[in-house]
């Protein structure tokens, strides 16, 4: 009986100490809220797990906050445009326009890229100018042609908002700030992952019926030395994330990668885009100048214009009309 008393005393003291500690700690009850448990992203079963910064591991609270912010026009100067305006789920998080529309009817510089599998990008933007998804969040907010806002003003709006401060505290243990705002949106963006396509069933499950005969012929062209597509559009996301000039123009109005590096040999180079979900991300190219996949195949078939930086892989392909159809059919299976 005496021994039991002593144990109760120890337990009570420890509990009291813990309570006092918790009351002085702003990050209270983390363990109690399952929304703050680090979760595993539901990645494509054949993809590696993406790299995630240690300070922004995914939790349900962070993802939910990031999703709310992503679709909230509070981020734009006149509160008319959200991230979701130009990254629409029904179009694999692109917008179907040649160039996106910003606030006050303005036209942005480039075509909005799909965000599917953005967790796998080694750097962001079509010119690779921004190293992380977190920092990338700043770019559309401050771009005068896109959201046209001052991120500090956006943070002030969030701080004054009836719901956001509590959501930020739950998710990050901190109030809204440039740091937590960019973390939350990036955390949500990493959950935008590709699904198992018909091509995957063909490749990984050896299900020959997953692709039609036309699609299978397209596959052979794509991975063969006539198509040469796989050199840049290889790997599981169908991109090596390099920057290439594909001879779209003799004079590029948008210098692309050279805007970042200031090097003449980078003029007209843009990131090789992923081809996953490519059927849903028309129009194509950095400026949305090619409206359909058929137009894209025509461009590659022509070998492109003779820009001095053009990739050596672009040469006239002399595809037959059937072969063009086969390639387009294959692309739609990704």
């Amino acid at each position: 009986m005496k021994r039991l008393d002593r144990h109760i005393w120890i337990a009570l003291s420890a509990t009291m100490a813990a309570l006092i500690f918790l009351l002085t700690c702003q990050h209270t009850w983390t363990i109690v809220d399952p929304g703050n448990w680090v979760i595993k992203l539901k990645t494509h079963p054949k993809f590696p797990y993406p790299p995630i910064p240690a300070d922004n591991l995914p939790t349900a609270n962070r993802i939910a906050l990031g999703k709310k912010l992503f679709f909230d026009p509070i981020l734009s100067r006149d509160s008319t445009i959200s991230c979701g305006t130009c990254h629409n789920e029904s179009k694999a998080f692109s917008d179907g326009l040649p160039k996106s529309k910003g606030i006050a009817g303005q036209t942005a510089l480039r075509n909005a890229p799909s965000l599917i599998n953005c967790a796998y990008l080694p750097n962001t933007m079509r010119d690779g100018g921004v190293p992380t998804l977190e920092q990338q969040v700043l770019a559309p907010i401050s771009n005068p042609l896109e959201m046209g806002a001052d991120v500090n003003n956006v943070v002030a709006r969030l701080v004054a908002h009836p719901e956001y401060p509590a959501l930020f505290r739950h998710a990050y243990g901190k109030p809204p700030s440039v740091y937590t705002l960019t973390r939350a949106i990036a955390c949500y963006e990493r959950t935008l992952l590709g699904t198992y396509s018909r091509y995957d069933r063909y490749l990984y499950d050896h299900d020959a019926s997953a692709l039609t005969p036309s699609e299978r012929r397209g596959l052979l062209l794509f991975f063969g030395e006539r198509g040469e597509c796989f050199h840049c559009h290889g790997e599981y996301t169908f991109t090596d994330n390099s920057f290439k000039n594909i001879g779209l123009y003799l004079n590029y109005p948008d210098s692309g990668r050279a805007r970042i590096t200031l090097k003449a040999e980078d003029v007209g180079k843009f990131r090789v885009p992923s081809l996953r979900n490519v059927a849903r991300t028309a129009p194509y190219m950095h400026d949305g100048s090619l409206p359909t996949l058929e137009a894209v195949i025509e461009h590659y078939n022509s070998g492109g214009k003779a820009h001095s930086n053009k990739s050596g892989l672009l040469k006239p392909m002399h595809l037959t009309p059937e072969e063009k159809l086969d390639l387009v059919a294959f692309l739609k299976s990704l």
């Binding site: 144990h7 109760i8 120890i10 337990a11 420890a14 509990t15 100490a17 813990a18 500690f21 918790l22 700690c25 702003q26 990050h27 209270t28 009850w29 983390t30 363990i31 109690v32 300070d55 933007m125 010119d127 100018g129 921004v130 190293p131 992380t132 977190e134 920092q135 700043l138 770019a139 907010i141 401050s142 771009n143 001052d150 991120v151 500090n152 003003n153 243990g173 901190k174 700030s177 440039v178 740091y179 960019t182 973390r183 805007r259 970042i260 200031l262």
Partner: protein, 247 residues
């Protein structure tokens, strides 16, 4: 039951993780050496919105003039360098006093610093800095979010671009100087001594008119650096001669 209470208690304690681990703070050391920096035009303090005239009598105003000054090194009489504690200053005409932190007592014959930022700082993540830090996102911004780099200097204003140029300035001009290649090392032969107990101030000035002397304000009204490198380079090359000791 008791064991369970202890385990829960332990879990609760460990759940209180380290906050702010990604929010570096600049040390708030008490300083003994301060830089006093004035921005001037024709030897008068720069005032935003005041109408000034170029050597050809063209009217212009300045509405924003800020720049990063970093890596300050004091040079002792014997030539040995003593790096100052402060890492990065964002110089703004609205503020004159900039703490450099402690310097060892003795006589000094000059200062070395850079206008701009080292490449690692320039391409670091600006979102990790708390509001108030010079490297945090400023309002108006001193960061190019699309290429992950800071504007080393931003100068904006209005100018009368008509042929005579003497009417009210209405056309906006802006020079945004940045990217690693625009960083410039500055040397300033300023004599000062640091006592054992009392602090000291080092007065320097930046002559905005001297810098703009390399620009034709009628025709050269903008650069974001990447889109007009020659103009940005010309302006950056003027920084050394625009600094002087404030007598």
């Amino acid at each position: 039951m008791i064991g369970f209470v202890i385990i829960v208690t332990a879990l609760l304690i460990f759940s209180c993780d380290n906050r702010n681990q990604n929010s570096p703070k600049l040390s708030a050391d008490k300083s003994t050496v301060r830089l006093i920096i004035r921005a001037t035009i024709a030897d008068k303090d720069l005032v935003y919105g005041s109408v000034y005239r170029t050597s050809t009598s063209r009217a212009f105003t300045i509405t924003d003039f800020r720049y990063y000054l970093s890596k300050v090194v004091a040079i002792r009489e014997d030539g040995s360098p003593v790096p100052a504690r402060c890492s990065v200053l964002l110089v703004d005409p609205g503020c004159r006093n900039y703490d450099l932190g402690y310097l060892p007592a003795g006589s000094y014959k000059g200062l070395r610093f850079i206008v701009g930022l080292d490449s690692a700082v320039n391409h670091g993540d600006p979102t990790v800095f708390e509001a108030g830090n010079p490297l945090a996102i400023q309002t108006p911004s001193m960061h190019w979010d699309w290429n992950s780099g800071y504007l080393f200097m931003k100068i904006e204003g209005k100018v009368d671009t008509t042929r005579r140029g003497s009417a009210a300035p209405t056309t906006e001009f802006f020079y945004h100087i940045g990217m690693d290649r625009m960083k410039r090392a500055i040397e300033l032969p300023v004599k000062f001594s640091v006592g054992k107990s009392s602090g000291t101030t080092i007065p320097i000035k930046f002559d905005v008119a001297a810098m703009l002397g390399c620009v034709d304000l009628q025709s050269e009204i903008s650069t974001h650096s990447f889109d007009n490198l020659p103009l940005a380079t010309r302006i950056a090359d003027r920084w050394q001669s625009s600094f002087s000791v404030d007598q």
